[in-house]
């Protein structure tokens, strides 16, 4: 009953047979074993499951794996190059942009696209760009600081 899909995940081309109803986030977590992408709400509100699909930040809990057929998907595990943290990851570390860490992967993936689109964002633009990602620990201030810090370092 599986539908064949070819998906580039973090630079590796994979061929898998998946159930048509399998959500992309579950494909990444259960089939690929990449558990860095988290599920927080299943209604695309919280953004914990955000990954990049062909370079765009997408909530992987509301996309089917079959819809990603032929796409390039980047998850949090694919962001650090050769073990070195991505500048956005580094900035979250330096500015204490995380506490429990659960929203962090999604928050970082959204921030990565935000900085691609707007390399020098204002704080208002950062906050607006992160409105699809919920964090209950930090109160966002340090997250906005982190994204601004990452932008300044570019």
């Amino acid at each position: 009953m599986g539908v064949p899909v070819q998906i580039h995940v973090n630079g590796t081309r994979r061929t898998d047979a998946v159930e048509p109803r399998l959500l992309l986030v579950h494909y990444l977590r259960e089939v690929c074993g990449l558990t860095g992408t988290h599920v927080g709400c299943e209604t695309s509100v919280c953004g914990a499951c955000t990954v990049l699909v062909d370079g765009k930040a997408v909530k992987s809990c509301t996309m089917f794996a079959v819809q990603a057929d032929g796409c390039r998907v980047t998850t949090i595990e694919g962001l650090a190059a050769n073990g070195a943290l991505h500048p956005v990851q580094e900035a979250f570390w330096e500015r204490h942009g995380l506490q429990c860490g659960y929203c962090t992967p999604g928050m970082i993936m959204t921030a990565v696209q935000l900085l691609e689109d707007t390399p020098r964002p204002s704080r208002e633009q950062i906050a607006h760009g992160l409105k699809g990602n919920l964090c209950r620990c930090t109160g966002y201030t340090h997250i906005v600081d982190a994204v601004a810090h990452a932008a300044a370092k570019r």
Binding site: H38, A80, C100, C137, T138, Y140, H142
Partner: protein, 779 residues
């Protein structure tokens, strides 16, 4: 208390980035849902869609026939094998329903688990759960806790014969004299709305039973693995010493994971019964419906005052909506409100009657602040109401009731002894940072233009560092262990269970400084009862205040032991040995110096030890705090309100918090900011809504409005430092300060903005609709 003082500025006091972060940043941390065990099965729950209903029948044949289904279990199958969910707080007259793991003959709230399906994959488990047919006979639901007290009200639990769970009374000072001598009595009803904690990681657990050893391992997203290890044996009959509870990475708790939940007990039982590991991951809708809620108190407050503003006494009747069951600390929450009722003020007489009421809703329990936000909100609102009635300056009114720094330890009429404080110092600093006079000028100018603008102040105090065992339900101490390894590396184990607060870093800072060891050589372990053998976990802002105390005791013991060993190796007496920055040498500097590597090697190889010297270099300790800690501070909020839309805009926010000595100011700032954000949520957006039938209307993030990045103003944050005497670190705890101090500052600002319209009080949240109605009814 400590024998070692740190002269040198080392790690402690520095804003250091966290040691725990790389794994979290790379997506390589392990939360419960990330666990994979061979042969693992998946559970999905069937939950009541009704607030109150008789369960007529449960038909599971269709579900059982679905692919991958291993079993379908109802209350009739499991309740006899799993004991009732424990409640640690009791009241003398308490009436409690039997809280079985699955509903018996009745369902008592929307989300009440009625059956559980176990299948080979999560998708198949959900498919089968949807195929379980439950026939309900809906019954009248008890929703309004005040109506629940009226004669003839339907009963939440008919077998209890009443909706009243308990009454609790607190009295201090001469309340009758206070009201007799009062020139005026100011009265206000306030409703502290129900909130949903909404940790971004829902709950979840994996239970695995080793048939050969008879041991159960439960990985669960919890704040309290040790308390679960104490309580779960009573439910499922596995002995405490055959049980290992692991809190792996936990994605936010805020009190909502300070509980033993039915799902944890049931998955444990099913793992034993089925002989396979069982995993359950809560979905958001389940989280909103069946993980504890917070707050939900209605209070009728009366303040006895003299015309000059002197407050003589405070009296109230509080109705606490408990929901349908008592979770771990449900009845304790209103009592915490009572204890800090008088806030940071000298109020000589107090009386409180709290009535715990059952309703057909999810249980309320400890949500970040737990009882103290309610108290702080009401006393801070009352200060503004009193000031407003008497035409006094709210700042001056607060000041005249502050105890002075010399009056500490300060005894309150509620029976507490506040450890230390300089309330006026924090207030002054906040006013300076706020540029108070400019704020007032701005407000007056805006008012002249016809705009709605307000300034709100909250000068809070809270109870933290929970707590002295005499005042706690089941031990308020904390356990820790520090081991100097043979390699000179240091392993620190804490029984507090940090889950995002950052003690993997702050404890390493403490140990690094006090042992003189590079922080890179220190590892802090937590959260696994097989590693952290004993503990009382994280809640009530106790992690550093109490857990840190245990670590300091361990350090002192290790240094003392190492000093004896060093003396032996140096051919001297222990009192001739000086320990400084990780080196042991003779007083005066003669002879060679020994480092930790030298001493650890000797201690473990054990060929050249002093007579009677126990090998090894490890110490564990239980730290018993002599008192709570009482952090305090001043929050100032400035709001503008849009007359046309009723929208509240936080223009400026200033907070000065005093949490005693600071281990890592960066982490403290994070705690404060996170807490204020939750306060902004409570003040402006959040409320848990059940309709008149007890149907939950806020079951998702789409309906329950937690703040987003755009909702957060820029803060001006400051601090004062008044160390506590309750622990050797002098730290007070800061995890809940923001949710306690900030809500009333925002509320007071909103109501100050509405004062020119004659609005004296509104209940939270101050949604645009509520504000708009208030504006338009009165203008």
């Amino acid at each position: 208390m400590s024998t070692i003082t740190t002269e040198k500025v080392g790690y402690v006091g520095k804003a250091m980035k966290r040691l725990e972060d790389p794994r979290l940043l790379k997506g390589l941390a392990t939360y419960v849902d990330d666990l994979r065990l061979p042969g693992m099965l998946h559970a999905a729950f069937v939950r009541s869609p009704h607030a109150h209903a008789r369960i007529v029948s449960i038909r599971s044949e269709t579900a059982r026939a679905k692919p991958g289904v291993v079993g379908v279990f109802t209350g009739a199958d499991v309740n006899a094998h799993c004991g009732v969910v424990p409640c640690a707080a009791s009241q003398p007259d308490m009436k409690a329903p039997k809280h079985t793991v699955l509903a018996g003959g009745r369902a008592y709230f929307v989300g009440h688990p009625v059956a559980v399906v176990v299948a080979t994959t999560p998708y198949l488990a959900v498919d089968a759960a949807e195929a379980v047919e439950v026939e309900y006979d809906p019954l009248p639901a008890v929703v309004d806790p005040e109506k629940a007290l009226e004669k003839g009200s339907p009963l939440t639990h008919p077998d209890l014969g009443t909706n009243v769970a308990f009454t609790w009374n607190l009295a201090g000072g001469d309340i009758d004299a206070a009201f007799k001598n009062a020139d005026r009595v100011i009265r206000q009803r306030m409703y502290h709305q129900r909130l949903t904690p909404m940790a971004i990681e829902p709950r979840g657990c994996v239970a695995s039973f080793h048939q050969g050893e008879g041991t159960l391992t439960l990985w669960t997203s919890t704040q309290i693995p040790h308390l679960i290890r104490t309580l779960l044996p009573g439910m499922i009959g596995v002995a405490e010493n055959k049980m290992r509870i692991v809190a792996p990475e936990v994605g936010g708790g805020f009190g909502s994971k300070l509980n033993l939940y039915v799902e944890e007990a049931l998955c444990s039982y099913l793992a034993m019964h089925l002989g396979a590991p069982v995993k359950w991951i809560e979905r958001r809708r389940e989280n909103a419906a069946a993980t504890i809620h917070g707050r939900d108190q209605i209070g009728y407050y009366e303040v006895a005052v003299k015309n000059d503003g002197t407050i003589l006494g405070l009296r109230n009747r509080t109705i606490a909506d408990l929901g349908s069951y008592l979770q771990l600390l449900t009845p304790a929450i209103p009592t915490l409100t009572g204890l800090v009722l008088t806030g940071s003020y000298k109020i000589p007489a107090v009386k409180m009657e709290a009535i715990g009421v059952y309703t057909n809703k999810m249980a309320t329990d400890a949500y970040r602040g737990a009882g103290r936000p309610e108290a702080t909100y009401l006393i801070e609102r009352l200060m503004d109401l009193v000031a407003g009635e008497l035409g006094l300056d709210p700042i001056a009114l607060r000041r005249r009731h502050f105890p002075t720094p010399q009056e500490f330890p300060f005894n309150t009429a509620t029976g507490l002894t506040y450890d230390s404080g300089n309330y006026d110092g924090a207030l002054r600093k906040a006013m300076e940072l706020a540029r108070w006079d400019e704020l007032v000028r701005r407000r007056e100018a805006r008012r002249r233009e016809g705009a709605l603008s307000g300034i709100g102040v909250s000068t809070y105090v809270e109870i933290c560092g929970m707590g002295p065992s005499k005042a706690m339900m089941a031990g308020g101490w904390e356990w820790g262990c520090v081991r100097m390894e043979i390699s000179g590396k240091v392993t620190v184990i804490t029984g507090a269970t940090p889950h995002g607060q950052g003690q993997e870093t702050s404890f390493a800072q403490i140990v690094g400084d006090r042992l003189g060891v590079p922080i890179e050589d220190i590892v802090v372990l937590r959260g696994d009862t097989a590693v952290a053998h004993y503990g009382r976990d994280t809640y009530g802002s106790r992690g550093t205040a109490v857990g840190g105390g245990a670590i300091v005791m361990c350090i002192d013991r290790i240094v003392e032991k190492a000093t004896r060993l060093a003396a032996h190796l140096l051919g001297a007496k222990p009192d001739q040995v000086v320990f400084q920055e990780g080196r042991f040498g003779l007083r005066g500097g003669a002879g060679k110096q020994l480092g930790w590597g030298d001493l650890a090697g000797e201690a473990y190889i054990a060929k050249n030890l002093p007579p009677g010297f126990e090998p090894g270099l490890e110490a564990s300790a239980f730290f018993e705090p002599p008192n709570f800690t009482f952090p305090f501070g001043t929050h100032i909020c400035v709001v503008d309100i849009d007359r046309d839309t009723g929208e509240v805009d936080i223009v400026k926010y200033i907070a000065v918090d005093d949490c005693g000595n600071q281990i890592n100011p960066l982490l403290i700032e994070g705690q404060v900011q996170g807490g204020i954000a939750q306060s902004i949520g409570q003040a402006l957006y959040e409320r848990t809504v059940y309709d008149e039938n007890g149907q939950l209307l806020t079951g998702e993030f789409t309906d329950y409005a937690v703040p987003r990045a755009e909702d957060i103003p820029e803060y001006v944050l400051g601090s004062t430092v008044t160390p506590t005497t309750s622990n050797p670190l002098g730290v007070k705890g800061v995890g809940e300060a923001g949710t306690i101090g900030a809500t009333p500052a925002i509320a007071n600002a909103v109501l100050d903005a509405l004062r020119p319209l004659g609005v004296k009080h509104l209940d939270m949240p101050f949604t645009p609709e509520k504000i708009w109605r208030a504006i338009n009814q009165r203008t």
